[in-house]
């Protein structure tokens, strides 16, 4: 049996080599499908790795409170996708921040409220600048380094702002002499007290691109915009071991304050992910689905070429049967050919996918995630595709009547 399998393998190899161009194109169909799956999975993995590593950098004593929409997630996501501002519905308030502060074992609490505003300096004006409203505790939790100046202090919090590295360059064309200058937001003037160091992490658990952001006091932001929406409250605990208890305390305190309405989530450790995680998952799920469809199209290509091969080799099938090949021998011969085509396509796709992922990673802040699991799943998928789309042509070849096949000669 093993001998026969090797023979089938050799026959398939010979036949594939015989029709090189055709086989290559068929493989390419599979390869494109596999490559797109690999690309999406590795980039997705890269993004979640990035967020995870950031959380561990900040420290294991972080607790995050986020609002939960009462609507079901699909409606929510559709609304998020269709609205210009992705942070509209929040049910966390400044009062909640005060409530959390009272919980025992906490060293710092910082709300994060982001709105987009037009920011102007004497030289330039920029619209759609993310303006982050927070409090003085923020710098205790986030490990943000300041390039120049200082963070907000109690004395200046009402009328001062801190600029991100890139934003400072954009507004004033410089970073070193920015401190002390003024910016105008919705008619109000604010003084720049500090400029952040470049951090180059646009994807983080705060979902704020700090390089481009402007940081100010949440009350001042509330004053100029009229309403602030808190997307997230970051909490630093005194003690890592008591995280579960503290988060429970926070939860019960908030539920009390909101009269039993539990429309928020409290998470810590590994559970802190990207804030738009569910949206992200759905989008990448959709992309994976599209990639799957292209893999199916590739599979149909394999089936098509195998059917052509079967009818081309009708005479050969007749001869083989006449000299003693059983239907099963013929079936295996053609199935092997389909399998080899799709596995070759899979290998090609694996390489192509990772090359593409690395090329993309040079312009994005995250490295592609390579795991043995993904490679294994891809291999199995191509195997399954090969069998599914190879079995019909192989069965067709095997069921040929040798007498009819022998009559068909070229």
């Amino acid at each position: 049996m093993a001998l026969l399998l090797r023979t089938h393998y050799k026959l398939a190899k010979a036949s594939i080599r015989e029709n090189r161009t055709r086989s290559f194109l068929t493989c390419l169909g599979i390869a494109i499908g596999v490559a797109s799956i690999i690309l999406i999975l590795s980039l997705m993995g890269g993004i979640s790795n990035l967020v995870k590593s950031e959380v561990s950098e900040i420290g294991s004593d972080l607790i995050v409170v986020r609002p939960i929409s009462t609507k079901d997630s699909i409606t929510n996501i559709v609304e998020e996708l269709t609205s210009a501002n992705s942070f509209q519905k929040s049910n966390l308030s400044v009062a909640d921040v005060k409530t959390i502060k009272k919980v025992e074992g906490i060293s710092a609490v910082a709300p994060i409220a982001v709105s987009t505003n037009t920011v102007a300096s004497e030289k330039n004006t920029f619209s759609s600048v993310p303006v982050l409203g927070t409090n003085l505790d923020f710098i205790k939790i986030e490990p943000l380094a300041l390039r120049y100046g200082a963070f907000l202090t109690e004395n200046n919090e009402g009328n001062s702002v801190v600029l991100g590295h890139t934003l400072s360059l954009a507004l004033f064309n410089t970073i070193n002499s920015t401190v002390g200058k003024t910016v105008t937001i919705m008619g109000e003037k604010f003084m720049v007290v500090g400029v952040l160091d470049s951090i180059d992490k646009s994807i983080n658990f705060d979902n704020v691109d700090f390089d481009n952001a402007l940081i100010m006091d949440i009350n001042a932001l509330d004053k100029i915009t009229g309403s602030t929406q808190i997307q997230q409250i970051n909490i630093k605990a005194n003690n890592t071991d008591s995280l579960p208890k503290i988060s429970e305390d926070i939860e019960s305190a908030l539920v009390n304050q909101k009269l039993g309405d539990k429309n928020f989530s409290v998470s810590y450790g590994d559970k802190i992910t990207h804030p738009a995680s569910s949206l992200f998952m759905i989008v990448s799920g959709m992309l994976t689905l599209v990639a799957m469809i292209s893999l199916v199209v590739g599979g149909i290509g394999v089936m098509n070429i195998m059917l052509v091969s079967v009818s081309e080799r009708n005479h050969e099938i007749g001869i083989r049967k006449a000299v003693g090949a059983s239907s099963r021998n013929i079936l295996m011969q053609f199935l092997f050919e389909a399998l080899i085509l799709s596995i070759l396509g899979g290998i090609l796709g694996l390489i192509l996918g990772y090359v593409l992922a690395f090329i993309i990673s040079t312009i994005t802040p995250f490295a592609p995630h390579i795991s043995l699991g993904i490679i294994l799943v891809t291999f199995l998928t191509t195997l399954v595709v090969g069998i599914i789309f190879g079995i019909y042509p192989a069965l067709k070849a095997a069921s040929k009547n040798p007498i009819d096949s022998l009559k068909h000669y070229r």
């Binding site: 001998l3 026969l4 023979t7 010979a14 036949s15 015989e18 005479h315 050969e316 007749g318 001869i319 083989r320 049967k321 006449a322 000299v323 003693g324 090949a325 059983s326 239907s327 099963r328 021998n329 040798p402 007498i403 022998l406 000669y409 070229r410």
Partner: protein, 278 residues
Amino acid sequence: MSENILIELKGLTKRYGYGDTESFALKDFDLTIKRGEFIMIMGPSGCGKTTLLNIIGLLDRATYGEYILNGENVAGISARRQARLRAKKIGFVFQNFNLIEDLSILENVALPLVYTGYSKTARLKNASSALKRFHLQEREYYFPYQLSGGQQQRVAIARAIVGNPEIILADEPTGNLDSRSSHIVMEELKAIHEEGNTIIMVTHNPALTVYATRVINMLDGQIDTDVKTVADANLPQPISVKIKRKKKETETVEIITPENDDEEKNKEEKKHKKGRRK
């Protein structure tokens, strides 16, 4: 049952179509074939010659009737067992040679051995010595289209005998050949027959019947005339066949078949063949 009987056909009927379109390629066909016979089947087109050959070669099945091969009724066995019997006991020679165009001569000849579980080296070795016999060894790596019709047919015969089958079935093997090539091919078949193989051949050419030990004329799916030109006792002794079936009993086989004149020669050949198998 006499042990020399190779094939017994009893009441073999092959029907095509039903009702008004019903027609019979074979009708209540009875035939007994002994080992070592060289049978020529003649008859007009559509009298069922090829159908008979296909049924004997286990490529086709009779609608009803018995087909006893080596004492075993093979009419109703599974397709898989039929294929195995085809690989081991039957060699086909066709009018249009039926060589695989994409394979070299050597690979074509080795083809039947693929399905009987030989290693690649053994396959090519056996194929090579089969080709040598037909003086084609220097053309081993040619492709079928590079050979003349007569050469192609000799390759096809080499393929038919490479697995040491008991029965060679030839469907108008000289039909596509000129008279010179026909003569060579027939001489080769004769040589194979003299070594003890049973050959059943369909032909339209009455001149070829001189090679046969038995000539059957068919008409409308039945035997019209059946003439034996050689007495049963004088049929060549089948040797390689028995060695193949039961290797350990080769000694007894020799004792059972002592009347052969060139026993010594056969023994040698037997050894040669056995060696080749390993």
